[in-house]
């Protein structure tokens, strides 16, 4: 097959090269008549030739010799070990080659295909001939005109073919040989096919090729479509907005940091609180050990509260005058310090191992208390420090009284500042003692037998003066508040006597009909004094009002059971306190008529109360002294006596 294609390619080639101009001219001559409208395009630079020039035939000869082709190429053959001459390349140059897809129906391949389809190729050939004949008939008109050209072409093709024959001839012969062989078989088959053809008188079947085919397809049923849609709930959305600036960030950090600090503090406090119960637990065990200390502290605070509360309660129950009872035990004694704010219970209690007979507080240091005991000893308490132990205590064997201490008295401080006191006891027959309010060295001592001795501390073994005052023990001596030369005494002989210093005879004598336990001058008046008797009565005298009888007699306690033993004026207020032998103390308020202040005479308005009181007493005394003046010699006698 390749040779045929080469031929086909070659032929047009030679044709084109050989007669380009001739063809055009011939066609122009013949066709101009009926193709006038056809315009020929010609390049601009085409030469304009005259008629004879155009008619002139320029003979050109082409040959197949390639002048550039090498003639003696050699190649080293490794097999033989020598150079071999390479045969020269032919004049054929394949420019384009394409395998055809169409078969000529007379070709062997087509025949084979027909046979494969079970048809008789002969019939097909006949049909083809008939068709060809028709075509030939139609082409006969053209064939006559073209007949002139054919010989020229034929010559050229013959020349070309003649040259190529050497190569192609062998193949061509082989092809022909095959064709003949097939022809014979076809001959035999033709006869058979004729029979079949008679049977199948239908339309002859076309040969199949890639342009002649039948396509089959099946279309399946399409399912109908339906649209359905659903919408889910969109996720919840929110909006958020803000501004970011450096100071906003800074502030936020500050704020958060502060919050954290606060949190930490709270946390710490909470932890401490949590810890507290634990430590309290530990403290409990400690507390048991040191209970005394703790309870003391607690009690101190609680006691203070109680004290205040108690005072409040008592202020309500006892209006402003309080009446206090307390028994004085004989086996053991006690010093009780009261305050009027709480009359129901003493503020301070000093317990002693013996009955307390007398007490005195220091004029400058009121917390210093000296007491005399039943057993003869004396003690000094400093209640500010402690009530439990005495600050000072007399030796119970060598340095004590041999009898009941009736009275103790703070003496004025010594020049070096030391405090000192005096005590009076039964052992020396002294029953009471009184210091002179203006002369610190002078004091009066009352005795069991009724005498009053005027003594001086300077001379311990001598008496300055002796008053034969009473017949029974002297219980009290008291100086007048306004005139220190006047003093009063009382005794168990029922009498109260008023004396003037250095005068052995009393100025006044009062008989109250009972043992007088105590007598005191009033601080607010120079002429008033009060006395208590064993019959339980209080007598108040005012010499200015009545020189012979008391202006007031008041029974305080039952005279059968109790005896009054002590009386004292409040230094400022018109109140007296009275003590009895059963341990009961009563406070009494003096009625206004018992404490009338002096009215200043019209001429002497400028005088103060003190002076007027002194004047009042002096006036009274002058009345009493009158008889004394009459017997002046007696006075001198007295002085002579002493």
């Amino acid at each position: 097959m390749p040779p045929t294609t080469i031929k086909k390619v070659l032929n047009p080639k030679t044709l084109k090269k050989g007669r380009p101009s001739q063809n055009r001219i011939d066609e122009g001559d013949d066709l101009e008549e009926w193709k006038k409208s056809k315009q020929l395009l010609r390049p601009k630079d085409q030469l304009e030739l005259t008629e004879p020039e155009l008619k002139d035939v320029i003979a050109r000869q082409l040959n197949t010799n390639n002048p550039l082709a090498p003639e003696n190429l050699v190649v080293f053959n490794h097999g033989t070990g020598a150079f071999e001459l390479v045969p020269p390349f032919g004049p054929v140059v394949v420019i384009y080659e394409s395998q055809g897809t169409q078969l000529h129906k007379e070709s062997e391949e087509a025949k084979q295909q027909v046979i494969d389809q079970g048809l008789d190729p002969a019939i097909l050939l006949e049909d083809a001939e008939s068709v060809e004949l028709k075509v030939e008939n139609e082409e006969e008109f053209l064939g006559e005109k073209e007949g002139e050209e054919e010989p020229a072409v034929g010559e050229e093709t013959e020349k070309v073919e003649g040259e190529e024959e050497e190569e192609v001839e062998g193949e061509g012969e082989e092809g022909e040989g095959e064709g003949e062989g097939e022809g014979e078989t076809e001959g035999t088959k033709a006869e058979d096919d004729e029979d079949t053809k008679s049977h199948t008188t239908g339309k002859p079947k076309k040969l199949t090729n890639q342009f002649n085919f039948c396509e089959r397809a099946a279309l399946t049923y399409n399912n109908p479509m339906r649209a359905q849609e659903t919408q889910t709930i969109p996720p919840p959305m929110g909006t958020f907005s803000g501004n970011v600036l450096q100071w906003i960030i800074y502030d936020a950090y500050q704020q958060d940091y502060e919050a954290q600090q606060l949190e930490k503090e709270l946390e710490r406090e909470r932890k401490e609180k949590e810890k507290a119960p634990v430590s309290r637990h530990q403290a409990l065990t400690k507390k048991i050990a040191g209970k005394a200390q703790l309870s003391e502290a607690v009690q101190g605070r609680v006691a203070e509260c109680w004290k205040v509360l108690e005072r409040m309660v008592n202020q309500n129950t006892f209006d402003d005058i309080a009446k206090v009872d307390f028994m004085k035990p004989l086996e053991e004694g006690a010093v009780c310090l009261f305050t009027l704010k709480n009359p129901s219970f003493p503020d301070y209690i000093c317990m002693t191992d013996s009955a307390v007979m007398c007490v005195d507080t220091h004029p400058k240091y009121p917390y210093m208390i000296v007491i005399g005991l039943y057993d003869g000893s004396v003690r000094v308490y400093n209640v500010q420090a402690t009530c439990k132990y005495p600050a000072f205590k007399s030796n119970s064997v060598t340095n004590k009284h041999r009898g009941i201490v009736w009275e103790v008295k703070w003496a004025p401080d010594l020049p070096d500042g030391e405090m000192n006191f005096y005590s009076v006891a039964e052992d020396g027959c002294a029953s009471c003692v009184k210091f002179h309010p203006k002369q610190p060295l002078i004091y009066l001592v009352g005795t069991e037998e009724g005498n009053i001795y005027k003594c001086s501390t300077a001379y311990s073994s001598m008496f300055l003066l002796t008053y034969e005052a009473h017949h029974m023990p002297v219980y009290r001596i008291d100086f007048n508040m306004y005139n220190s030369d006047i003093f009063i005494s009382c005794s168990g002989d029922w009498r109260i006597k008023i004396w003037e210093d250095n005068r052995l005879e009393p100025l006044f004598v009062f008989d109250v009909g009972a043992c007088v336990g105590d007598v005191k001058w009033a601080p607010y008046s120079s002429t008033v004094f009060a006395a208590v008797t064993s019959e339980g009565k209080v007598y108040v005298f005012d010499l200015n009002v009545n020189k012979y009888k008391p202006i007031c007699v008041q029974a305080i306690v039952s005279k059968r059971r109790n005896k009054l033993t002590r009386i004292t004026f409040n230094p400022k207020l018109p109140i007296i306190i009275v003590g009895d032998d059963k341990g009961c103390v009563s406070t009494l308020k003096l009625s206004p008529n018992l404490r009338i202040p002096c009215k200043a005479p019209k001429k002497q308005q400028h005088l103060d109360q003190w002076t007027m009181q002194c004047m009042k007493l002096d006036k009274l005394l002058s009345l009493v002294r009158e008889p004394a003046k009459l017997d002046l010699p007696e006075d001198t006698a007295e002085s002579i006596e002493s």
């Binding site: 958020f240 803000g242 970011v244």
Partner: protein, 105 residues
């Protein structure tokens, strides 16, 4: 910024500078919030000089961990108004001068 820092420094010398992560607002579940916060801290420390890459890192990680459409803003000064899917918002400060907004939408 250079001027601003210059002015702030003397103040900061007196006062304490807080750099800890501070959550200003968040509606995330606690676990996710903690995880996101740690992620922000990591990213901002890694890309301390480049907010953009820090934001990109946060966004990528958030997308990977909690599902894609996350948005992240990292900056020192900006304003914003955003719509976000509920329980997917985190607004926090870090390093004393950075604000980070993370939201999903």
């Amino acid at each position: 910024m250079g001027d601003g820092e210059g002015r702030e420094k003397p103040e900061e010398a007196k006062k304490i500078v807080h750099t800890y992560p501070l959550i200003r607002h968040s509606d995330m579940p606690e676990e996710i919030k903690q995880e996101s916060m740690e992620l922000v801290v990591t990213a901002c420390e890694k890309h301390s000089t480049n907010n953009e890459s820090a934001a990109k890192m946060i966004k990528d990680e958030m997308d990977k961990k909690f599902g894609p459409p996350f948005h992240v803003v990292v900056g020192e000064g900006f304003g914003f108004e955003i719509s976000y899917e509920c329980h997917n918002l985190l607004y926090m400060f870090f390093g004393g001068n950075l604000a980070i907004v993370i939201w999903k939408c």
